[in-house]
Point group: C3
Chain length 279, copies 3
């Protein structure tokens, strides 16, 4: 199975679909083609949340603001999955989760209210050495039909080849590499009575999804969000229509929501905004 | 085959797709993921219009304003199809049509212009006893990963199991039930020279689809809509671009339309608005 | 394989999908269902750009402003592909490309700056005699369930039958025809130092795609667009975010773009607008 994910909208993904169908008999399933345009971090977040539900597959991901520059094309292998993507970090968060290095985060034990700046880089790099393997896909710029549509001309053919190969190492265009662009979501600062994080993404319903792990809400019926009290509920429909609430979203993180409404507007927050939670 | 229908937009349905692919080899086809948000009646209408064109299949439907509350999850079986959906009525109109209880409606014979309030409930309940079977899917709230995404954690796994089962009754989590939430579209009042109904849905083209059966237009070249005359035509393109018309839509009902334009705007109507037709 | 392409949005294509699944075991892949509404030329452009990447398949295309009128339904066969579509020209540009009659265009040698009005009609008609075969699909208007949804009632059943037939000629409802509506994109006027064309389509990113062949930019680092200088670059990201540029798009034509922005707005052009390029 090959899945497709991009920020291409329509109809560009159809050309990728055609290229794959012409080269491989793989079943194709879409993840999404409406990721926020050229927002590598949002795509990385959604891939981390969605891909692990699939059985082992090849995932062709193209959110690629650097198309046509000399950024590399990668295959990132973890947990039996193979992610074919540009070398901009988009594949790394999901790879860590697939490799078992990134379970749903648990709250840390930093000082109350302080913004933690924990460098987990080395730790993960060590842990991940066995779990994640990365190849660079060589492609000849002069061979590609277009400098503006590597989804069709580089990533789709690579995904078809990677899917059909017993081992990525069998492909002569793929050479192992230990250098790649990483991408990490910011760590929240979680204390005894407060947690400070930020909005990672806003979904189509308007739910503002933060990087704060959901268990900071354990046992709470109310929490202060940026100083204002808001009810904590397990389900959107636990309150009347239009009421705002704080909940643990399907991704395990704290989410600012409104029953049948938009949480981002009700709480006045957008992607990248700081969110301070306090008991 | 498993079809997916929801109001989730993107990328949440991809997680459902992954869950199903991890549990079943079923072919997956999308019906839609952009049903009007949390509008159970609109979803019920579109399912009734679309699902009967499929060969017998399992249909996983999630328009679910009550997610995370104690509303049940159902399997509704009719005409060889199995619909897995929340217990909010969304599956009943299509089930009645699949069971042959809801053919394209024919005009009644109520008094001219009077608003009929025909209770067809008993009649259908009787007719339907043999044609529709309903099971409740037991799920343990504590087992589900999320209270906000039962599409992924309850309905997708249920759909995979229901699809793969020879009989729904073979599944130990499914127990027959004779209690469920019903949903019926309002009946129009159809007289000799007038018909009064309402707009059930507005489609993406702006066509305002009513609950008035199309044969009230038989033989007419013009009809009064809320007092104003409008041409009756068999095709949008029978009039010049921008001209409004009344036609029989692909669902068999009276539709207010504009050739290459929006009927809802031209006729000044929206979902739920009353529409009075008169010769 | 059957591909689907339309301007139907959602959920109407699902009914087509159901009809096909009920009649054929063909794999179904979507090309797009959000082509600009009733814009036959835009659909024809995108089909020409996307379909050739697929392996030989049956393509069911419904952008059909004339639905319900007496316009014919066609099967257009070329290069091993079969396109089932209304007789409004939408299938002809892709058919010419599949037949090898329409390679990526090369600049002509007309006078500098003059608007060429080259009639390539006869030439192509001659070239294409062997490469393109067209059948009319007979359908009985009285048999169709709807005059407003031939996608479901005419084209989807025809596509299923055409896909499953060894030869289109085997289908008794298909009779060869040599009359059909053609559609040709306007020819640009390409001179030694200037080229005048028009914007054919604007894609979802805002890139304004012209009919001017990309090789007019060969060797240039700058070009005047309607008198104003603009940089010529091979990739969007070759300039800073928000900077406008002229590039050769993935379709091989000159494209007016902005890195991470909308080219149509930055250059002040829309579909059908003239674009004058000068060294």
């Amino acid at each position: 199975m090959i899945t497709l994910a991009s920020d291409f909208g329509s109809p560009y993904p159809a050309a990728m679909r055609g290229v794959i169908c012409a080269r491989s008999g793989a079943r194709i399933e879409d993840i999404a083609h409406d990721f926020p345009r050229q927002d590598v971090r949002a795509a990385a977040f959604w891939l981390r949340e969605v891909v692990p539900y699939f059985p082992p597959a090849t995932h062709c991901v193209v959110v690629d603001p650097g198309v046509g520059t000399d950024r590399a094309a990668l295959v990132v292998e973890a947990g039996g999955h193979r992610v074919v993507a540009p070398d901009n970090g988009v594949a790394l968060p999901v790879a860590r989760r697939l490799a078992g290095e990134d379970p749903t985060p648990e709250p840390g034990t930093t000082d109350d209210g302080a913004t933690a700046d924990v460098d987990t880089g080395n730790e993960s790099a060590t842990d991940g050495a066995a779990g994640i393997r990365v190849w660079e896909v060589e492609y000849d710029d002069a061979e590609t039909a277009s400098n503006t549509f590597h989804g069709r001309d580089v990533f789709a053919p690579a995904a078809a080849a990677v899917h059909d190969a017993d081992s990525v190492g069998d492909l002569k265009r793929c050479r192992p590499t230990d250098e790649w662009v990483d991408l990490r979501f910011p760590d929240p600062a979680v204390g005894e009575t407060t947690a400070t994080g930020e909005v990672l993404v806003v979904d189509g319903f308007g739910n503002a999804i933060t990087n704060v792990p959901g268990d900071v809400l354990d046992g709470l019926e109310e929490v202060r969000v940026d100083g204002e009290p808001a009810p904590v509920r397990r389900a959107y429909a636990a309150l009347a229509e239009g009421r705002r609430l704080v909940t643990v979203g399907s991704h395990g993180n704290v989410e600012l929501a409104v029953n049948r409404g938009r949480g981002d507007e009700a709480f006045g927050v957008g992607v990248g905004d700081e969110v301070r939670l306090a008991r």
